[in-house]
Amino acid sequence: MSRLIRPRPPLALTRRRLLAASAGGLALAGLARPGRLMAEEPIRVAGIYTVPVEQQWVSRIHIAAEAAQAAGAVDYRYSENVSNTDYARVMREYAESGMQLIVGEVFGVEAESREVAAEYPEVAFLMGSSFKEDPAVPNFAVFDNYIQDAAYLTGIAAGAMTETANIGMVGGFPIPEVNRLMHAFMDGAREINPDIRFQVAFIGSWFDPPRAKETAFGMIEGGADIMYAERFGVSDAAQERGMLAIGNVIDTQPDYPDTVITSALWHFEPTMEAAIAAVRAGEFTAKDYGIYSFMIHGGCSVAPFGTFEGRVPEEAVALMAQREEEILSGAFVTPINDDEPRSG
């Protein structure tokens, strides 16, 4: 069930947009907002999310869009908790109401969303997707939180900190983005300790903290002393049993000060800025915006150690700094592997 957080723009806006196409409209728009040139008009952006904006992944998009709005670059509105069966309707509703850029996530409606986008060629769609861009739908670009660089670096920290050489990883579903980050994390951990055993499990749900917690308990019983917390609930299990955890996408250390060593952070801002610039320049095309989540574009970073300052071995901190430098200079490219990770 969808709910428009803000009311739909009044009909006049759509009419104005139509009028703006003509010379008379140009003058009218100028009158309506004196002192502003057309080029500075904020881009009208809509967000469509299948989960509440609290959800880690979506929260990063939401924060970036609100920041862009505060800076005056966009006029942002959004619908959260839109079910997949309702997704196409909400896409149409925003497209018809005069939005210029629609951001969202189509992991559950990959084909249908592309069909809808094809019907609105003048609207730019920037969608989180497990698939690649399609030149046949030139106004439909894709992205995901490809923060393997940060995941690799946090892996180094975890690899140095595990005493049992056993790390547990609980994921939602094995989609490319999740797999890629897990592999990067494992590669990072193995670089500093090649003998680590990984326990990997997927819980078949994005939102079931009790189940994620139970799965994490199982892994801790199986010898894991550090958990890769891809889902809510995993850090809780680690905290209850006195084990450690690594956060993903958002910084979770404030909630688990004695548990979370560090987190691989996603920053959506570079992706957002690139898309806004493309829309403004009239050059928005089908491409993979996933690269803007790479560290070299400022799309990800490692959260400060905070409460764990001084507790991570020197050797690991040095290696993390060295790899980060190499990633930023292009000397080191984090391996990309989108296959489903397995225990072992």
Binding site: P210, E214, T215, F217, G218, G344
Partner: protein
């Protein structure tokens, strides 16, 4: 093979079984009461969401934990009242009303959540129920940590099973309730109100379902997420059938389901997990429960008046 044995003899495994079973026990008993009185309550999934939200929200707003449980029960009973009003005196389709209640309760919970917390980055946490080891009993090897070092809500779940069984089979009220689901005309002939009994049963049953939901946000976890009930309500409907509408058997079925679930989580990390896709493991509890259901339900006696509306004076 030794890995499997290691799993089965570990106390923490059995503790997980009990933990996973607890919310299902509440909700299964709730559904059982409704169906014994003749009303199929498909509102269960949504009522669990409402309970998970109401209990957690109450505690977050400053209420005590047990007050939170009571508020969850009350919220469930209210949705039960809605369900019962439509299905009992009005005699509407129990399938349609039940699914409607599920949709309404789910959406209303989310609506209330957003009104209370318009803008947050992560849902706030509460101080949830902590494990409460029972002195003496908790020291018994394997059994102790599994059964007697759980949270107070888990003890309440098992007590609920005992109370439901006792009331249904050992009291006049229980007899009247079961009769309302078997032969409502006989109940009416005794001068009792079929409508009243059925409505009361649905309200109490829905209250228990909501407490099952509250277990998720107040004991298993300490925060509310929108989709966290995640189909547990539907599982409970199957567990009632599995238990042949008997509280003891249904509780046994719940434990069996929880056993398979806790087992598959650990089995995934054995050598077997490297070759078998994870989906198979996730399917395991459902698959094995269906098999057990086939065996167990062969001699099950369905309440004769289940889903049959009662209209006074009609023959």
């Amino acid at each position: 093979m030794t890995e499997v044995v290691d799993i089965l003899v570990s106390a923490s495994f059995w503790a997980a079984v009990i933990r996973i079973a607890s919310p299902l026990l509440f909700a299964t008993m709730g559904e059982l009461i409704c169906e014994r009185a003749g009303v199929l309550n498909l509102g269960i999934e949504g009522i669990m969401v409402a309970g998970a939200f109401a209990g957690w929200m109450a505690v977050w707003s400053g209420a005590g934990l047990w007050t939170g449980v009571a508020i969850a029960f009350g919220a469930g009973a209210l949705f039960g009242l809605l369900h019962a009003t439509l299905t009992v005196p009005f005699g509407l389709s129990q399938h349609v009303v039940g699914l409607g209640v599920t949709l309404l309760a789910t959406s209303a919970s989310y609506y209330a959540y957003r009104l209370a917390l318009p803008q947050v980055t992560t849902p706030p946490r509460i101080e949830a129920f902590q494990p409460l080891p029972i002195p003496g009993l908790a020291d018994i090897p394997i059994l102790g940590p599994a059964l007697f070092a759980q949270t107070a809500m888990t003890y309440l779940a098992f007590a609920t099973v005992a109370v439901v069984a006792l009331v249904l089979w050992r009291t006049p009220l229980g007899l009247a309730l079961r009769a309302a689901g078997e032969n409502p005309a006989a109940v009416a002939a005794q001068g009792l109100s079929v409508t009243g009994i059925r409505m009361g049963a649905v309200m109490v049953g829905s209250g228990l379902m909501a407490v099952g939901g509250a277990f998720l946000t107040m004991s298993a976890f300490d925060s509310f997420f929108f989709e966290m009930v995640n189909g547990r309500g539907w599982v409970c409907i199957a567990l009632v059938v599995f238990g042949a509408w008997r509280p003891g058997k249904a509780a046994l079925g719940t434990l069996l389901f929880a056993f398979f679930d806790a087992f598959q989580i650990r089995l995934q990390q054995t050598a077997l997990g490297a070759d078998v896709p994870y989906q198979i493991f996730l399917m395991l509890p459902f698959l094995l429960s269906i098999l057990a259901l086939i065996v167990m339900s062969r001699r099950a006696e369905v309440p004769a008046a289940l889903m049959v509306p009662w209209r006074k004076g009609e023959r």
